[in-house]
Point group: C2
Chain length 165, copies 2
């Protein structure tokens, strides 16, 4: 079976996809926005039963809110989404480094100074979810009158578990 290890293979897979593609009608605007890690092992369409047009999927390293506020504002303002799920996951790469270590590597490998960049790693998975719930609650640009919940996705079982704020 082919693997998407290059952009060329990605384009080949996309060409295959277009052969049977038909534009699906969208029943309504999305109601939910998810903030999720970029991890290559998580397929949110399968894991969370998403279908066409239903959910805004915002993904970044760790699933951190700091990088997602602009997108959430647009989701809530332009599309009127009415719930937010923040999903971190077990075995996350963000558990494996610190800002100091990352800055040292960038200095050595890229000759670049990143002392003014926060890479948002974390040492405790539950705490990182709670931190992002707090960060959400601190933003005056985001809707505070809708459900906002935090979860951990367990790669061993495929299950979401809610983290109490």
């Amino acid at each position: 079976m082919y693997r998407v290890t290059t952009l060329k293979k990605l384009l080949e897979a996309n060409q295959e996809y277009t052969r049977s593609y038909t534009l699906q009608p969208v029943e309504s605007t999305p109601q939910v926005a998810l903030v999720l890690c970029m991890d290559a092992r998580i397929n949110p369409w399968a894991a969370f039963g998403l279908k066409n047009g239903e959910v805004h999927v915002i993904r970044n390293a760790g699933g951190r809110i700091a990088d997602a506020i602009r997108s959430l504002v647009i989701s809530q303002t332009m599309f009127d989404t009415k719930a937010v799920g923040i999903i971190h996951h077990t075995e996350c790469g963000m558990l494996s480094f610190t800002d100091e270590a990352m800055r040292k590597r960038l200095r050595e490998e890229r000759h670049a100074v990143a002392d003014d960049v926060a890479f948002l790693p974390f040492a405790d998975l539950e705490e990182s979810v709670r931190d992002d719930l707090i960060l959400y609650r601190q933003s005056p640009l985001l809707r505070q009158d809708i459900p906002v919940r935090g979860y951990i996705f367990d790669l061993a079982t495929g299950a979401l578990r809610e983290v109490e704020p």
Copy 2:
């Protein structure tokens, strides 16, 4: 058929998913990172033939690089990914507003001042892809020795088309 319109329905769908879930072995670390819009109509696993563990999927409103630099640094440093695809798409919501209009709405609807926030909308789709290629090239934190390409995903046909830098 159920629709994921609430977090409760998302949890129900996830419970169903766990019944047949088995942890898939990952053949190698991801080789490609994608930066893509959060649009609810784009399923990158289907559209780009992604399989378990292959590709980091970074998504935000518009698929803009400005919000993706932290994630790309981590992708390239911690996981050694070796290619980047930047994918914007037709019918994007980012084509439908301006920073001024967004700030006016936030002032009126949330009583919040966002004059210091850039929401990164765009008026021209090809130009927005070229702009993000330039922004990528300007970052000293990102790898400049690997393929970085920009594409437009056409929602009418499902096809990716490369945008010349």
